[in-house]
């Protein structure tokens, strides 16, 4: 079992142009900074990115957008990014807006081997357009399909060489769901340890889901909205 790779460039070495990627994170919290930088260096394009947000100008997925490497974003919220807006309005970029819970659950379904789920979000709105519906207990639900991603790229707090992952605080967000959903899952971690050093009770994603793992470097962890209170 050899899951450990040398670094981000090795982890993404075979990702081709046109690939469908899942990228973990909520806003800029818990994003795979090292792999995004490697994808920018690699220069692959025509990517479809499934990610709750599209980064900001100059950081996160914003770096891929700036280099015009993204063909389509599948996200729930894409504000805070002027370059995204420019590409969308000029027709260079496609966007599929998905309710946040539906986005999460379509990732979850993939990781649990379920082809589709019935969800209430978006019934009676344009999100329901063209979707199959079914009634349960007098309520109408939408049939939502599991995502089918070529690669899932996630960021964890700690991981071991067998691919077991632990996330920290709200940097967990979409990361475990996407880790479980990729045909190939790449995990970058802040701290990579040997088997036995993580308590099996604390594992959020078991290593069976993870194919490649490495310890990332130079995390910037940019804060989008720095809010503080004064000491009394």
């Amino acid at each position: 079992m050899k899951k450990v790779v040398a670094g981000a460039d090795a982890a993404v070495h075979d990702i081709p142009s046109g690939a469908i990627l899942m990228l973990g994170g909520f806003g800029l919290c818990g994003i795979p900074e090292n792999c995004i930088a490697a994808l920018v260096r690699k220069g692959v394009n025509n990517l479809t990115c499934i990610s709750n947000n599209a980064g900001v100008d100059g950081f996160g997925i914003g770096l891929l957008l700036k280099q015009k490497q993204v063909k389509k974003m599948i996200s729930s919220y894409v504000g805070e990014n002027a370059e995204f807006e420019r590409q969308l309005l000029s027709g260079e970029l496609e966007v599929d807006l998905v309710p946040q819970g539906t986005l999460a659950t379509r990732c979850m379904a993939a990781g649990y081997g379920m082809p589709a789920v019935f969800l209430l979000a978006g019934v009676g709105t344009e999100v329901a357009d063209g979707k199959e519906t079914r009634e349960f207990n007098g309520k109408t639900y939408l049939l939502e399909h599991a995502f089918d991603a070529d690669y899932a790229i996630v960021k964890a707090w700690k991981g071991d060489t067998m691919g077991n992952l632990i996330f920290k605080d709200t940097a967990r967000n979409f990361n475990p769901l996407m880790a479980m959903a990729g045909k190939i899952t790449i995990a970058e971690v802040e701290e990579l340890v040997q088997p036995g050093q993580l308590d099996p009770n604390h594992i959020h994603v078991p290593g069976v889901y993870v194919h490649r793992i490495f310890q990332g470097t130079d995390y910037e962890k940019r804060i989008e909205q720095r809010t503080v209170r004064k000491r009394d």
């Binding site: 909520f26 919290c29 309710p99 946040q100 709200t170 720095r226 503080v228």
Partner: protein, 218 residues
């Protein structure tokens, strides 16, 4: 005259009950956390994966791994719990969250809500709003009664793309408190300094004034 944003938040806080799990949206709803009545313990849910959201951190103690759904740095409280995004919306969908407070661009007299998109302008996305309004047991909208052009936001039918259908139970606007019923909007309280005539003039949807209408205590 009418309520300012802080007063709207304060009035909504009076709807909180001890033991509630509450999701507060971005904007005025966030301010509700500042006015939780004494003796009422609520647990705030942040849909990016936290129950038990605490106040903003002290300067220098911000943690980039700990944010709320508005991407603001926050803290935890004793008894907080983290979870992933699927579980977060799972607990919302399963009706475990007692109250959702959010803003709106328009609310219709049947409880439809529009708050995510203005066609031909930039579309930022719905985030978690559609999931929340589809599932929450109780939804209170916090908003201005009229838009910047002075047009009513309480309408017979929403003109903007919908976020959810038939889901809003109550509105607290700068002018008053309104239940959303099968008979349309019912004004149950008016803001200090606001007349019933003004409320009638600024409400485009079907409106009834409750026989027991009273001045709001804020």
């Amino acid at each position: 005259m009418g309520l300012n944003k802080e007063q709207i938040a304060k009035r909504i806080a009076m709807e909180l009950r001890d033991g509630f799990y509450v999701n507060l949206g971005i904007g005025i709803p966030t301010l509700v956390a500042n006015y939780i009545p004494d003796g009422v313990n609520v647990v705030l849910q942040s849909e990016n994966g936290l129950l038990g959201m605490g106040p903003f951190p002290f300067e220098g103690e911000e943690d980039p791994d700990l944010i709320n759904a508005g991407k603001q740095t926050i803290t935890t409280l004793p008894g907080s719990a983290f979870f992933d995004s699927a579980m977060s919306f799972g607990m919302i969908r399963a009706g475990k969250v007692d109250l959702t407070v959010l803003g709106a661009m328009e609310v219709a007299e049947n409880g439809d809500i529009a708050n995510w998109k203005i066609p031909k302008k930039m579309v930022k996305g719905m985030g978690g709003a559609m999931d929340l309004v589809a599932a929450a047991k109780n939804i209170i909208v916090a908003m201005q009664h009229t838009n910047p052009k002075g047009e009513s936001k309480l309408l017979p039918r929403c003109s903007l793309p919908l976020t959810g259908v038939g889901c809003v139970k109550k509105i607290v606007s700068d002018l008053g408190v309104f239940d959303v019923t099968s008979d349309g909007f019912v004004c149950i309280e008016y803001a200090p300094g606001v007349t019933i005539d003004e409320i009638i003039a600024k409400t485009a949807g079907r409106l009834t004034i409750s026989p027991s209408v009273k001045e709001m205590a804020v």
